[in-house]
């Protein structure tokens, strides 16, 4: 997966996340599915909601929010999470305009 592509939140995702201590619940308005996410996943989505970004940009933003994570794994975790969310139609890649 290219790390240069820009990711954004699907237009079907309800903006009313329910964020609890260490988890988040999100709702897909298109298919009616509800998903329970880790706080890490919720943070990725929150960042994307503010501004679409590449995996690299997301990784940098997440460094600041999770001090205690193994930073070498963050990029890989973001990649995995985005791929998972893409299958659920929670996030998508911005069309490549080049």
């Amino acid at each position: 997966m290219s790390t240069d592509r820009v990711w954004l939140v699907s237009e079907y995702l309800s903006p009313d996340f329910q964020i609890y201590d260490e988890q988040a619940v999100v709702y897909h308005c298109g298919n009616g599915q509800t998903h329970l996410l880790s706080l890490f996943g919720a943070e990725v989505l929150k960042i994307l909601l503010l501004k679409p970004g590449t995996i690299k940009e997301l990784t940098i933003a997440l460094y600041d929010r999770f001090d205690d994570v193994d930073k070498t794994d963050v990029e890989h975790s973001v990649q995995q999470f985005l791929e998972y969310c893409r299958l659920l139609d929670v996030v998508k890649m911005q069309p490549d305009e080049s």
């Binding site: 309800s14 329910q18 609890y20």
Partner: protein, 303 residues
């Protein structure tokens, strides 16, 4: 006027002819039935409910009637109808009253979408309500009956009606449906409990309905604030344990017990989110009702 304020013969006549309009929680229900069993049980178990003899409107028009043909006489059966529509297959005639109860449950679950409807018992103490969602067999009704006999106000044995507008739970304190061994367990706890007759061989086993205390019916208009969502599970010989559950997992568990989450769509998601913001979630396993009551009473004191 309450049901008990009318002579029984007169009441039976109303039920069998034009039907009676009962105020049941936030709903007006017009009940009509030619089965004396239905009138008898309503007269006994809904004695404290308000009856509106000249009401021109009811939320639900329900009827329990015999089917046409031989089944009126040979192995007699009963049918439940709602606004003339018959949603279920017939049941044996001696199930007529519980068919009314189940049919009314169906009406509420299918149509009362002003609420987020959760399959659960709801009780209140010191102004705070506990929601007890549970699949059949989890011990929800038994625990609910025991709590109601111990001073917790019964809001419902069957539904949490969460109103997202004011973030409250609307009471609908109908008779508590107890099954199989639970009937005797609850009967033994107090002498003055009024039960309807045992109904045997239903698809849920043997059933008896416990009349709600008058004061709970009188408080039908007093909404309650949700404070706890507790998932009960009866486990033989288990020690009682109340373990916190994360709100995220609680959300997903409550969702499974919602009747109309999918119908409400995004509004259901937001409503459930509002509810979870107000209530702490727990898993609760128990085998001893007295231990369970102690834990709940302690919880009510702490909050």
């Amino acid at each position: 006027m309450r049901v008990k304020d009318i002579e029984y013969e007169q009441f039976k006549k109303y039920v069998s002819c034009e039907g009676v309009c009962l105020k049941i929680g936030p709903f007006v229900v017009n009940v009509r039935s030619s089965f004396p069993l239905v009138a008898e049980n309503i007269y006994q178990l809904y004695a404290d409910f308000i009856i509106e003899l000249n009401s021109e409107f009811a939320d639900f028009y329900v009827c329990v009637k015999p089917p046409a043909g031989l089944r009126r006489w040979f192995r007699p059966q009963c049918l439940f109808s709602f606004d003339g529509f018959i949603p279920f297959k017939p049941l044996p005639a001696n199930h007529a009253f519980v068919f009314f109860e189940w049919g009314l449950n169906w009406c509420i679950a299918q149509f009362a979408h002003q609420f987020l409807i959760i399959h659960s018992a709801v009780l209140e103490k010191n102004g705070k309500a506990v929601i007890l969602p549970g699949m059949p067999g989890a011990g929800k009704s038994t625990l609910c009956a025991a709590l109601a006999l111990d001073g917790w106000r019964l809001l419902s044995d069957e539904f949490a009606l969460f109103n997202p507008e004011d973030k409250s739970l609307t009471p609908i304190p109908r008779p508590v449906s107890l099954k199989n061994e639970s009937v005797n367990i609850i009967k033994q706890r107090q002498d003055n409990i009024i039960f309807g007759p045992l109904v045997e061989n239903t698809h849920k086993g043997t059933i008896a309905l416990m009349k709600p205390v008058t004061s709970y019916v009188d408080a039908s208009a007093e909404v309650a604030c949700p404070a706890w969502i507790i998932f009960p599970e009866y486990q033989p010989d288990a020690e009682s344990s109340l373990l916190p559950l994360s709100k995220g997992e609680g959300f997903m568990e409550v969702k499974k017990n919602c009747f109309n989450y999918d119908v409400l769509g995004e509004r259901g998601f937001r409503s459930l989110g509002e509810l979870l913001n107000l209530a702490e979630c727990y898993n609760f396993s128990y085998s001893n009702l007295d231990e369970a009551l102690n834990i709940f009473n302690q919880l009510a004191l702490e909050k």
